[in-house]
Assembly symmetry: D2
C-alpha cells in the first residue's frame, strides 16, 4: 500500500449490479463472505464499507470481523441503508409518516452503535429523502423533519463521526441533500462536532461542482470525513473506474487532498455493471496511484505560484511536464 494513502471499497461494488433494464443483475449475487474473498485479491486495498443491516449487522458482525482480520481489510464505514426497501418510498429521515421516520432514525442509531463497536465511521446517504414531482411535497415541513432527524442521529453518540453524503438526484428526481453547499449549511445549522461530509465524485460532477473546490470548501470547516472515488459523464451517477473521464479534475482533487492534509480513506464507490468488479476496483487503485506519481513530477512551489497568479496558459507547461513532456521553453 502506498505510504499515507489508504484505499477502501464498498462491498456493494462486488454485487450483481442490478439496474432497471437488467433487473436480474449483470452477474450472480454472492454472499458477503464471498465478496470479501474477492476484495482480498486486490492489491493496495485496506478497508471495506458496508450497508447496515443488509451487508453488515449484529447478526454477522462477528464473522465479518474475523474475516476482515484474516484478510487485513478493516471495517471502515457502516452506512445505514435508508433507500433499498419500498417502505422508504415516501422518505426516510424526512418522511411525513411518523412511524417510518422513527424507524429510519432508529436504523441510523443502531448503525452508529455498531460503528462505535467497530471503530468505523458512519455514512448517511438520504437517497429517498426528496421528491419526484413539482407540487408533490411540503418543502418546509420536509426540511424541518429532515433537519431534526439528522440532529437526533448526530446527538445519539457524539463520539462517532457521521459523514453526510449529498447527491442531486437518483433514485428520486430531487434529493434534499443535493449539493456541497446544502450539506455544509445543514451542518452549520445543527452545530454539532461529529457531523461532516462524504464527497462522492460522481455526485459532485452531477451538480456541476468542481471536485477540488468542494473538498477545499469542506476542509475550511474541517468537515471532510470521507471520500467516494469514481467517475462519470456528469449527467448521471455512472460510478465508473476512477480517472477514466475527469482526468484533470481527479488529478487536481488528489493535489488538493494533499494540500488540505486529508488523512482519511480513499474510498472507492464503483458500480461496474458490465466490467469485472475485481478488475474495475484494481484498475481504479492503479489509476489513482499513478496519478499521484504524476503529481510528484511537479515542483510544488512553481505550481502554487501559478495558482496564485491564476494564469491558465502558463499552467499548461506545468501540466504537460506532469505528463512527461521534456521540452523546455519560455512561457
Amino acid at each position: 500500500m502506498r505510504k499515507g494513502v489508504k484505499f477502501s471499497v464498498g462491498i456493494w461494488s462486488f454485487g450483481p449490479t442490478v439496474e432497471r433494464f437488467c433487473p436480474s443483475g449483470y452477474r450472480e449475487d454472492m454472499p458477503v463472505e464471498k465478496r470479501l474473498e474477492q476484495a482480498s485479491k486486490i492489491e493496495g486495498l485496506g478497508g471495506i464499507e458496508y450497508h447496515y443491516p443488509q451487508e453488515l449487522s449484529e447478526k454477522n458482525v462477528d464473522k465479518i470481523k474475523e474475516l476482515s482480520k484474516s484478510y487485513g481489510l478493516k471495517i471502515v464505514i457502516v452506512a445505514p441503508n435508508l433507500f433499498s426497501e419500498p417502505k422508504w418510498a415516501k422518505g426516510a429521515l424526512s418522511a411525513s409518516n411518523e412511524k417510518t421516520r422513527k424507524e429510519a432514525i432508529q436504523r441510523v442509531k443502531a448503525g452508529i452503535d455498531l460503528s462505535k463497536e467497530l471503530g468505523a465511521a458512519v455514512c448517511i446517504w438520504p437517497g429517498q429523502d426528496g421528491y419526484d414531482y413539482p407540487f408533490q411535497v411540503d418543502y418546509r415541513a420536509m426540511w424541518d423533519r429532515f433537519t431534526k432527524s439528522v440532529k437526533e442521529c448526530a446527538e445519539h453518540r457524539t463520539d462517532v463521526k457521521i459523514a453526510l453524503e449529498y447527491k442531486m438526484g437518483e433514485p428520486k428526481t430531487h434529493i434534499l441533500l443535493a449539493t456541497v453547499g446544502k450539506t455544509l449549511n445543514l451542518i452549520q445549522e445543527i452545530g454539532l462536532n461529529n457531523l461532516g461530509v462524504n464527497v462522492d465524485f460522481g455526485h459532485a460532477f452531477m451538480a456541476y461542482e468542481n471536485l477540488a473546490e468542494s473538498i477545499v470548501l469542506i476542509s475550511r470547516y474541517n468537515r471532510l470525513y470521507h471520500t467516494h472515488f469514481n467517475d462519470s459523464f456528469a449527467h448521471f451517477d455512472d460510478d465508473m473506474i476512477v480517472g477514466t473521464v475527469h482526468f484533470w479534475e481527479t488529478l487536481e482533487l488528489l493535489y488538493w487532498l494533499q494540500e488540505v492534509e486529508y488523512n482519511g480513506w480513499y474510498g472507492l464507490d464503483l458500480f461496474p455493471y458490465r466490467e469485472d468488479p475485481v478488475k474495475a476496483v484494481q484498475q481504479s487503485i492503479r489509476n489513482v496511484e499513478f496519478m499521484m506519481d504524476l503529481l510528484e513530477k511537479v515542483d510544488r512551489k512553481e505550481l502554487r505560484e501559478i495558482l496564485e497568479e491564476g494564469e491558465a496558459t502558463n499552467m499548461q507547461l506545468i501540466l504537460r511536464k506532469m505528463l512527461g513532456e521534456k521540452r523546455i521553453e519560455t512561457k
Copy 2:
C-alpha cells in the same frame, strides 16, 4: 376513448419497477395476465405493448390474444428485448461477438414474425448497443455492424413496420442510436420503406431536443411510426406522468401531432417507481385529454399566423387564452 386518439401502454409499466437502489422493486411482481387485468381498469386505454419474449412470446401468445380481446386491449407493439439479459452486456445488434450478434438479429426476426401474425408493429430499442468508456470500442466497426444488422432485420419482412427508438444513454453511458438525427440518417442510409421512428419524450428531452421539432422532422419523411409519452427532468429518463414537467412542450407536441396528421398510437411508457401504476397511467391519459381540450380553445388560424411571424411576445396572449384567460387586449 377520445375520437381519433388511441392510447396504449407498455405492460412493463405495471411491473415491480426495479432500480439499482431498490433491487427488489418497489412492489411485488405480477404475471402478465394480472398486469393486463390492472390495465383493463384504465379508462381510455386501447392497446398494450410487450417485450418479446419476456412478456409476450409464442408460448403465451394465444392466451394473451384471448385476454386482449376480452379486455378490448389491442396488441400494439412487440419489442424484441435486446437489453435485459447479461449476454447483451457487450452489445446486441452491434456486438463484435458474431454469435451474440446473430442471436440478437434472430430475436428481432422472431419478434417481427410474431408481430406479423398479430397485426402489431415492431419497436427496436438498442439500449446495449453502445459503450461506457472513452477508448473502449472501435466505433467504425461498431457502426458498420449495427447498420448491417438493422438492415438485415428490416429486410426480413418488409410488410411489418419497424420503429427505431433512440436514446442518448442508459443503461450504457453512450448508446449509438442517440438522437433523432442519427436515427433518420440511419434510415436514409438503409433506404427501406418499413423503417421508421418511435419517439420517446424523455429520450428526446435528455438530448435537448424540442419534442415538436423532432416529430415534425421525422414526419417530413413520413417515418413517425410510434410515440412514447412520458415526462422527465431531462437529465435522465425519469418516465414520469405525462405533462407534469414539460407542460408547454407536451402541449406543443400535441398540436404538431395534429398538424402532421399523425394517426398512430399515443403510447405511454411510464416507470412509476413510487406511484401506483394504474393511477399513473390513468392520470397521464387524463392529462393528455385535458391538454387536447385546451388546444381546442384556440383559433388555429390565429395561432398559425403568429408561428409564421415567429413573435414570442404575441404568442403569450394566445397561450394564456388557451389556459382560460378572458382578458381582451391589444398586443
Copy 3:
C-alpha cells in the same frame, strides 16, 4: 397593480442585449432616461433596478430620482457592478490582486451608501469571482478572500439589506457563489443580519434546483431579500419571458412565495435579445398575474393535504382543476 404584488425590472432589460455573436447588440443603445420612459409604458410595473455606477451613480442620481417619481417607478435595487469591466477578469471580491479587491469592496460600499440614501436594497452578483480552468486557482485562498470581502461589505452599514445572487457559471465557467446551499452556508458563516439572498430563476434552474424548494429553504432563515423572475431551458441563463418554459415550477414558486409570506419585490431580470423589451416585460407581468389567478382556483386546504401525503397522482386532479378542468371524479 395587483394587490400585494410589486413588480420591478432591471433597467438593463431595455439595453442593446449584446452577446458574443452579436457584439453590436440587437438594437440601439439608449440612455437610462430613455429606458425609463420605455419602462413607464408597462402596466403593473412599480420599480426599477440599476447597476452602480453604470446606470445609476452619484452623478445622475438626482435626475433619476426625479424621473422615477414622475413615472411612479421606485428605485428598488442598486447592484454594484463587479463584472463588466476588464479589470475584474481575474476576480473582484476574491481577486488575489489586493488593489483590485479593495477597489471592488470600495465599489460595493459606495453602492451601499447610495442605496441607503434611496431606501433601496443592494444586490451583489459576484460573476467574475470564480475561475475557468482546472488547476487555475487556489480555491482555499480565493474562498478566504471572498468571505472576508463580503463580510467587510456587510459590516459597512448593517442598516442596508444586501441580497447575494448566486449563479453556477457565466461569464466564468465556474463561479464561487454557485448555488443556494453555498450562499446560505456563507451567510451562516459570516453571521450578520443584513445578508440575504436574491434568487434568480434561471440561475436556480441551471443548478438543477427546484425553485420552490430553494425559496422555502432560504425562508427558513428569513433571508429571502429579493427575486429575479425569468425563464430558461436550464442549460444556460437564457433570461426569457417568465413562465414560458418552466410552467409548473413557476406556478409552484408563486404558491410558495405566498406560503412563506414573501412581501418583497417580484423583480424581472430579462435579456430579450430578439424580442421587444417592453413587450417581453409586459408579457412576463401578465403571465405572472394570470398564474396567480390560476392559483386562486384551488382550495388551499385540499392542496396542502395532498402535499402532506405526497401523492403525485392525486395532485394531477388539483392541477387540472387549476387550469380549468370541470370534470368531477374520484381519485
Copy 4:
C-alpha cells in the same frame, strides 16, 4: 510544423471577445492586419479562418492575400457570417421573410465565390436558424426553407467544399442544425457531393456526443471537411484551450483522426475571454502536439485488439502506459 498535421485558427480568436456581461470586450479591438501579425508569432500555425465579409471580403482580399503570403499563413476557411447582425434575428437561411432569406443565400454564394478564388473551403454555421421559445415557429416550414436554402448554396458551385457546422444552441436557445445526426441526415437528403461537416468540439460536447464517434460516423460517408478544436465544460460553448477539460476524449479524437486518415486542417476555434489570445492558441497547439506524442508511445496493434474486445479494464494499462507508466503487469 509537425509532419502531416496542419493547424489553422479563426482570426476572431484575436478579437476583443465581447460577451453580454462585458460588452466592451476584455481587450481592445484590433484590425485584421494587426490580428494576423499576432497570429504570425505562433509556432506551428499554418492557416487562418475568416468570416465573410467582416474579416475578409472583396474589399480587403488583396491585402490579406499579400499579408498571408508574407506570414506563411494560408487562407483556409471563408465563413459567411449569418449571425452577427440584427437582421438575422428571425433567421437567415430559414427566415420566413423572403428578402432576408435571399440576402443570406446571396451572402453564402458570394463567400463561395471568394473561397473559389482563394482555394479555401467554406464553413456555414447557421447560428440564427433556430428559435427561442416553445410555440414560436412553424418547424415544418422552417426546415423546408432551411433545406432548400442550403441546397441552393451547395449547387452554386459544386467545386467548392462546404462544411456545415452544427451546434445545439447559442445564440438561440435551439438551433435547427443541432447535432451530428441532423447534419448527416440533411446532407443525405440534399444528396450533393460538396456538402460535408465541420465538427466543433465544444458543440459536440454540448450535445453529449462522443467526439471520436462523431468523426468516425461522419467519415463513414467521407464528409469530414473540417475540424474546430477547443474545449469546454459541456454545458455551454466555452471555447477553451484544447485538452484542458476533455483530456481522454481529445486524445481519443486524435487517435481516430489518424485511423480515418483525416488530412484536413486542425482548426482552432478559441474564444479566450480572460487569457492572452496568442498564448491560448500557442498552448492549444502545444497540447495537441504533445498528445500526439503520447499516442505514439502505444502499440497500435495492442490498442486495436482491446478496442475489438471492448474491455475497459484492460484498456487502463494501455492508457497509463501512454502517459508514461513503466510498471509491467498482467491484466
